[in-house]
Amino acid sequence: MPSTARHYRKYLDPAVLAKIGGLQLRARLIVEGFFSGMHRSPQRGLSIEFADHRSYTQGDDIRRIDWRVYARTDKYYVKEYEQETNLDLMLVVDASESMQYRSAQAALSKYEYATAIAAALAYLALQQRDSVGLAVFAEHLVEFVRPSNDAAHWRTVVDELERRSGPAKTALGRALGELAERLAHRMLVVVISDGFDDVAGVLRGLKLLRYRRHDLVVCHVLDPAELTLPFRGPTLFEGLEAGGRLLADPGALRRRYLQEMTQFQARLRAGCARLRADYVLFNTLAPLDVALSTYLATRSARIRQRSSRVMAGR
């Protein structure tokens, strides 16, 4: 088993993943790799949440007896579980031209990395019987797939993600506003983008979603070259999204560029914190499991929140 675990974990590495064609397979392998590294939970099914205790009756599985309660009360109680089924996950993926960028260091372009995250999350969510929706945007919303928990829905999501978009600018703030209009009930909205837009606009869009009480996770995907500006010697930078051209010595600009990039991340991160949205930075060189564990952590936090509300209501 450990060897199989290691075998699957390698699929979390973007360099290995890049060699695998087809988003479906990639996503499955990511999820397999993710789980093969976790300790096996004593509970069956991760979507099973503890709800209440009841007295042991004949025929109950003795493994479900809560021995701690027995120790305190000298009576047999078994745990009662309730299944959370109404978590809706909305994957919002940036398909603008800037997401197509891939430096020589990286194995995957930012868009490929984003779709791998999205597809893996969708797969994982559907396995949990959560419903999954998809919004793909560039300057506007390009595609919108309504949430569904049908197992076959995953294929639809993956097909949409695999559809390449044309050259278009990022307008993340506006797209989020458009999305907020469309989402009827509370959802976990996972935004996967490089965020190359006006930071204030992006935060405005997130704020609109937040006002509608959606939970937000911002997956900020950046290429390692964008994080380090590793070039040497005279370089002609040809901007994507009609960003113009610049002939410069990167060595002379690096220090200030990195300051600028750090400030950009910091502003985005601070804005997310104010909106109580989770901000996760992804270097496209990094393994992909971070995305999945973030999702699961957020999900369980939300379920706990909901459970506490239920308990309070009783």
């Binding site: 031209e97 800037s98 997401m99 960028y101 930012k110 490089d194 190359f196 290429d223 964008e226 070039f231 010697g233 005279p234 370089t235 002609l236 930078f237 040809e238 901007g239 994507l240 999204e241 960003g243 113009g244 610049l246 002939l247 410069a248 010595d249 060595g251 002379a252 600009l253 690096r254 220090r255 200030r256 560029y257 990195l258 600028e260 990039m261 950009f264």
Partner: protein, 733 residues
């Protein structure tokens, strides 16, 4: 390198500055090329990059150009420093006057002895100018002194600061009768400034001279090509040149510029004419001149001279005879009523060789019963007529047969004559060949016996032998008694025969030649002295080694021509034999500056040797190897006059005369000198030089190489620091 730059910042090696400036372009080129060689990168985060670039473009631009500027500066400075520039200006003088290398060229040649009546000589004035210059130089300036009279000599080759030493050396320089060696002196000065440590602006060469006309011709002549002018111009590239003229004003000079006997063989009691040339170097014609022919204090002849035009010359011919053999010295002296600027050249000397006899060996190819029946009988008679007790001849013929030839000591004879000699052995040819090569004369007459094949093979040897060409066969068909040719009067040009051309109806041209041998001369080595009327060569002369060979293609007796029966035969033969006789006395008639050298016979080397100088003192020369033996040597000669070499009881006279160029006391005008050398060379008269203080370099020129190198070092440090600083800022990033 533009001339403007060169003039404002003079340099020692301008080419290196050009190289440095060219090299300074290299960093700019590298920068431009590297800007053209960039890589393209697609880029998503363009807005950040553009924002950063907008803010820091100016700073980056400045940084890059700062480093580039420092690199360019470093290379340009390196080039400039290697070019060793210096600056020179008046304010710099006041601030920091450096030392100036000063070289004085003092003319002490023959013409510098000229003087106006009651005035010091040109040389004395030049010496005074030199002293004043030395006194006016700042104490830090090193001084050298070079004398210009040949051979030019550096008296203070290592520049000295000690003024007392310089004054002593200047006082020790004495005037000579030598020619001027401006080229040598200017070359010495150039070598001195090159060896010195001073930059060009701080080197000054002063030429103090009369700038006499033969060396410094006026601008109308081919002056720019004169060697002295060229050498002076070449020196101006390395040092500042200042000319100080002494002897302004015309002093006038007449001189005896030539004295020579008209005969090359002088016998006892034989009247000999001497040609005297007198030149007038003044600006006015001279009518007051007479010439004396003197022997010691005794005046042999005195003749008034015709008027001598200004700048012109006249010749006089004065005859005398000698009673005893030896090497008497004759003196020609011009006497005038007016004073003369240069009295030393009013006399000229010649040492002649008076001989009691000049032996001539005649080899008879077919002796007859009587003297005149032989092949050379007429010739022997013609050379020593002795018909009249007053006839004087120096030639002393001796007739031998070809068998006896080998026994004769040929060097004892001035000339050897072969008269219709059939053939000679190879040894005899070798013997004759060596004799001619060492200076002897050989005269060959043709005839019916002469074996042309033997002569061509052994005597001509394909041009390597002494014969002036190849003999052919007889020219005229035998048996035709009436056929004859004659000598062509128009063909005479050689000095030995040219006097006959003035008398075209003389016996020489009436003589009939019934036969002769054809002859192909080796032109241009050989010279045809006389031809027959049909154009064929009759007399052919050829120099061979130190001697001469003459071929006559007809006979010396009546066999083929009736010339020996004509009266002209006597003088023609005397002329020809005299022409062939080796010149004697060239080594005894010398010019000042030359070395006296007298070859000694082995028996003479053991005898006491002494030389009496013109002023009367005796001196001992030295013995040097000369050829196979030894020679007496003394010199170079410094004084005009008679030098008597006493070898045991015998005396040999030598004379030394001045070069006639030095008698030319005319000088090149200051304006003409300025025109020759350009405005950058100051030309002063000696009185002006005294008034104007120190002409020439002021010591203001300062070399910039050291400060430039210091700035270069700073530029390199700054460049390294800037590059390191920028690099570290990038690395931190």
């Amino acid at each position: 390198m533009s001339d403007v730059l060169l003039q404002s910042v003079p340099m020692l090696h301008p080419a290196l500055a050009t190289f440095g400036l060219a090299a300074a372009a290299i960093p700019v080129l590298i920068h431009l090329i590297s800007r053209r060689r960039y890589r393209r990168v697609p880029w998503a985060a363009m807005s950040f990059l553009l924002a950063v670039h907008r803010r820091s473009a100016r700073r980056v631009f400045l940084e890059q150009w700062l480093v580039l500027l420092l690199r360019v500066l470093a290379l340009a400075l390196l080039g400039l420093a290697l070019a060793r520039p210096y600056f020179s200006s008046a304010w710099a003088t006041a601030l920091t006057a450096g030392s100036v290398q000063r070289i004085i060229l003092l003319d002490n040649s023959g013409s510098m002895n000229a003087r106006a009546a009651g005035q010091p000589t040109r040389f004395e004035r030049a010496q005074a100018v030199a002293r004043r210059l030395v006194d006016s130089f700042p104490p830090r300036d090193p001084i050298s002194v070079i004398t210009v009279a040949a051979p030019a000599r550096a008296h203070l080759a290592d520049p000295v600061l000690e003024r007392r030493l310089v004054r002593e050396r200047l006082a020790a320089v004495s005037p000579t009768a030598n020619v001027t060696d401006f080229v040598g002196a200017l070359t010495l000065a150039r070598d001195l400034v090159r060896e010195g440590q001073h930059v060009r602006g701080n080197r000054t060469v002063y030429v103090i001279s009369d700038f006499s006309a033969p060396y410094w011709p006026g601008p109308a002549d081919d002056a720019p090509a004169a060697p002295a002018v060229l050498a002076a111009k070449a020196l101006t590239a390395e040092a500042a040149l200042t000319l100080v003229r002494v002897a302004p004003g015309d002093e006038g000079n007449v001189a005896v510029t030539n004295l020579a006997p008209e005969a090359s063989l002088i016998g006892l009691q034989m009247p000999v004419r001497f040609t005297v040339t007198v030149a007038n170097y003044g600006d006015t014609p001279r009518r007051d001149l007479a010439v004396q022919l003197r022997r010691g204090e005794q005046i042999l002849r005195r003749e008034p001279l015709p008027p001598v035009p200004a700048g012109g010359q006249v010749q006089a011919s004065l005859a005398t005879a000698f009673a005893t053999p030896g090497t008497p010295v004759l003196e020609a002296r011009v006497v005038a009523d007016a004073a003369d600027a240069l009295p030393e050249d009013d006399a000229r000397y010649v040492s002649v060789e008076v001989r009691s006899a000049a032996p001539v060996l005649l080899v008879d190819g077919r002796p007859g019963r009587t003297r005149l029946d032989g092949q050379v009988g007429y010739l022997a008679t013609a050379l020593a007529p002795r018909l009249d007790p007053h006839d004087t001849t120096v030639l002393e013929p001796k007739v031998v047969t070809e068998v006896e030839l080998e026994a004769e000591p040929l060097p004892a004879y001035d000339v050897v004559v072969l008269g219709n000699v059939e053939r000679l052995s190879a040894r005899q040819w070798q013997y004759l060949e060596r004799y001619v090569a060492e200076g002897g004369g050989l005269l060959i007459f043709a005839g019916d016996l002469l074996n042309t094949e033997d002569y061509n093979r052994n005597g001509h040897r394909g041009g390597a032998g002494p014969l002036p060409g190849r003999f052919g066969g007889p020219a005229l068909p035998p048996g035709q008694v009436e056929a004859f040719t004659q000598f062509d009067v128009r063909s005479l040009t050689h000095p030995g025969v040219v006097e006959f051309a003035q008398v075209p109806d003389s016996g020489l041209f009436l003589a009939q030649v019934r036969q002769y041998l054809t002859f192909t001369p080796d032109l241009p080595r050989a010279e045809v002295l006389m031809r027959y009327t049909d154009g064929a060569p009759a007399l052919i002369l050829n120099g061979y080694g130190a001697g001469r060979v003459l071929v006559c293609t007809t006979t010396a007796n009546l066999d083929w021509t009736n010339l020996p029966a004509k009266g002209d035969f006597v003088s023609l033969m005397a002329n020809l034999v005299t022409t062939l006789a080796p010149p004697r006395g060239e080594q005894r008639n010398l010019l000042i500056g030359q070395t006296l050298q007298a070859p000694l016979a082995p028996s003479q080397t053991a005898l006491p040797l002494r030389l009496r100088l013109p002023e009367g003192n005796w001196t001992e020369g030295k013995l040097v190897p000369a050829g196979a033996g030894l020679a007496f040597q003394y010199g170079p000669l410094e004084d005009r006059g008679t030098y008597v070499l006493s070898v045991g009881a015998d005396n040999v006279n030598f004379v030394a005369n001045g070069e006639s160029m030095e008698s030319d006391t005319r000088t090149c005008a200051g304006a003409a000198l300025r025109a020759l050398l350009g405005p950058s060379v100051p030309v002063l008269n000696d009185d002006e030089a005294a008034r104007q203080g120190v002409p020439g370099g002021t010591g203001a020129a300062r070399e910039l190489a050291v400060p430039l190198l210091a700035i270069l070092l700073l530029a390199l440090l700054a460049e390294s620091f800037a590059a390191m600083w920028l690099g570290s800022r990038r690395e931190q990033a």
